[in-house]
């Protein structure tokens, strides 16, 4: 959230980028970046703007009916109020006329996560006499980065969910051995109970998918169509959780085999694992050398491995997503040159998942997922123990 304490750093970034300001816009929660920075709790039902200028105090534009969302706006910062559209348009014009401002606008929708301003609003701002550029670098620096405390919270969550995943896999194996195999949704419920005991929370999931069900990367088990995890199955567990009270998510995927895996499963697993490691190697070498690196490049590196193994068309999602300080699927740089063209730099302080996968409909799905955080001159990967081989139980 924007605070007086962070204003000098933000204004330095604006000066460095030759920007006159950052113009935030939200309406009915369509711009999570703006509502996060403005500390809004819940949707705003009327249009709001805020300008963070290169010099001087930020200025908010609130609707008269709705002062509530601005409760956290610093008292020292001006907050103007409008009722009608004429007043709104002239307030906006008074803020941005002749200025070069950043907004959550991505030309051609290259990065949909950054393309949050409706076309008509951009026209209004341009008609007010502003030049609008993409706020992507500001979003990375100011919105997406983790604090040192948040990194520690993420690391704790990562260790805990790793142990929870291992425990779940061992349990599924035990149940097979006992002749009383557990259903996917039952294992899911056990994992949720383990989150609770570990002081973790999640908004959804986890995914527990046997063999052919794992070929749908967004599969969710359900009691309505139970699927037992049995001998011969491959088991995918994708789980994500964070410490309560504002932790940063950890998000991992683990692969197991109920009994010895077939050669084909091992081949697919090794392609996925090596793709994951190719992305991590590229990132590590660039970051330790102090060279710039972008999420799209890491996506290309992972994808090249899977394509070389002949599974290119079966890897149909990005290599990873931003994990920002608020959201599991964050607004920072994505590890993606497939679904979108993310050319944002992976700057110190951002975190993300690396999770290539291969999906063979009707047969099998394999994914391996770790998280990474860009430190000043190194890449921190969580959990500490990255999966090397299929866990055979």
């Amino acid at each position: 959230m924007l605070t007086p304490e962070m204003l000098p750093r933000l204004q330095q970034l604006l000066a460095d980028a030759d920007l006159d300001g950052w113009l935030l816009y939200d309406f009915r929660g369509t711009n999570a970046i703006a509502s996060g920075l403005l500390g809004f709790d819940g949707l705003v039902s009327r249009r709001v703007f805020a300008l963070i200028p290169r010099e001087g105090l930020p200025i908010g534009i609130a609707h008269a009916i709705e002062p509530g969302p601005w409760a956290q706006w610093p008292k020292a910062w001006p907050l103007r109020t409008y009722s009608g559209w004429r007043a709104l348009e002239s307030e906006v014009a008074s803020l941005v006329q002749g200025k070069r401002v950043a907004m959550e606008y991505s030309p051609g929708d290259a990065i949909p996560y950054l393309d949050r301003v409706p076309a008509g609003v951009l026209e209004m701002v341009r008609a007010a006499g502003a030049t609008v550029v993409c706020s992507g670098d500001l979003v990375s620096q100011i919105y997406a980065t983790w604090t040192p405390d948040q990194l520690l919270s993420h690391e704790r969550a990562a260790e805990r969910i790793m142990h929870i995943a291992h425990g779940a896999i061992a349990y599924a194996g035990d149940m097979v051995a006992l002749g009383t195999p557990v259903a996917e949704h039952e294992l899911q419920a056990r994992i949720l109970e383990a989150f609770e005991r570990a002081g973790l929370e999640t908004h959804h999931g986890p995914d527990v998918a046997a063999s052919e069900n794992a070929a749908n990367p967004h599969y969710m088990p359900s009691a309505a169509s139970p699927r037992l995890i049995q001998r011969g199955d491959t088991l995918l567990i994708d789980l994500w959780a964070r410490e309560k009270n504002g932790g940063v998510y950890a998000d991992q995927t683990w692969m197991a085999s109920m009994g010895a895996p077939t050669e084909r499963v091992v081949t697919v697993w090794e392609a996925v694992r090596d793709a994951r490691d190719a992305a991590l190697s590229l990132l590590q070498s660039r970051i330790t050398a102090g060279l710039p690196v972008r999420g799209g490049e890491a996506d290309d590196a992972a994808r090249a491995v899977i394509e070389a193994r002949g599974f290119g068309p079966q890897f149909w999602h990005r290599t990873g997503h931003s994990i920002d300080s608020r959201e599991l699927h964050g607004s920072g740089p994505q590890i993606d040159n497939l679904e979108s063209r993310d050319d944002r730099l992976l700057i110190p302080g951002v975190g993300f998942s690396i999770e290539p996968g291969i999906y063979l409909p009707g047969e099998l799905g394999v994914r391996s997922e770790v998280n990474a955080y860009v430190a000043e001159d190194s890449l921190l990967v969580t959990p500490g123990d990255v999966q090397r081989d299929l866990i055979v139980v």
Copy 2:
């Protein structure tokens, strides 16, 4: 939701408007109109499009990772799948090149409720060779209108919440008389219990606000700062609910006085009441005469009364909001020429609130709210008994 049964009517509308198609876009729930028409349940995490062409079958464009949201897409309608941005852009181009299509785009953000397509997406569609116009009239016709069954459900809900409001006011009066005045939030809880008994549901509220608290139109009572409703208070109750299982909301505001009202309160009440009735009269006369009428005109009519009584600056919101078949604050025509420039026609089948208000910070807030539905040649107003005078208890 779009169905094969409604396709002929929609395609006739497209032909009448000289459009080649309606291009729907959604991403992460930013376009409620598109997700409602496509029958999506929950957010889509990847970009999706659907073209409803003037002739032939609708065509959806889904992401490979996410077939789930398309569960209700008719089997007979093509559903294409993409993974990468190049494929997405070429699919979009193949659908719209050289065509004139409607999207949820409102030039200059004149109607923010219709401005749901990010600027970068509009650029992508234009770069694909399309001419894009505002889908407003289609949204009114296809998305916002109520079915006859929905009208009946709304009418039932309207009668029930009227009785619940009357009962709550009587109870507050009884408690004052007994010397055990009820707090706002306690009365709110009683209303919610009454909704439950009446088979109604709501997502929020109701608002119960005494005297000075009602000067904030978005006030919500709370146990954390209890406010007793006492002799001499003015009481505002704004309540909204619908029948469970898909009813259309009814939304009303009632005003009461705990004991005889002051002359000033009566003056303010009469200004509000007469503003409400001026809007209703304008609508009734136009609609029964078969003449076109727009939401902004009804807003002007209500506002003129309040301005003439000297309270213009204290009426700082639109006169009313769309109530569509899904949402209390709907995407159909708004009764608004203050906050936005809504020039959409109020066509048969749309419903909305009429709710002028006067807000005197620190002192008093007064609002009166009814709902209206445009029938073929008449305006139906709910509830049957519109409040004429302050309810004195």
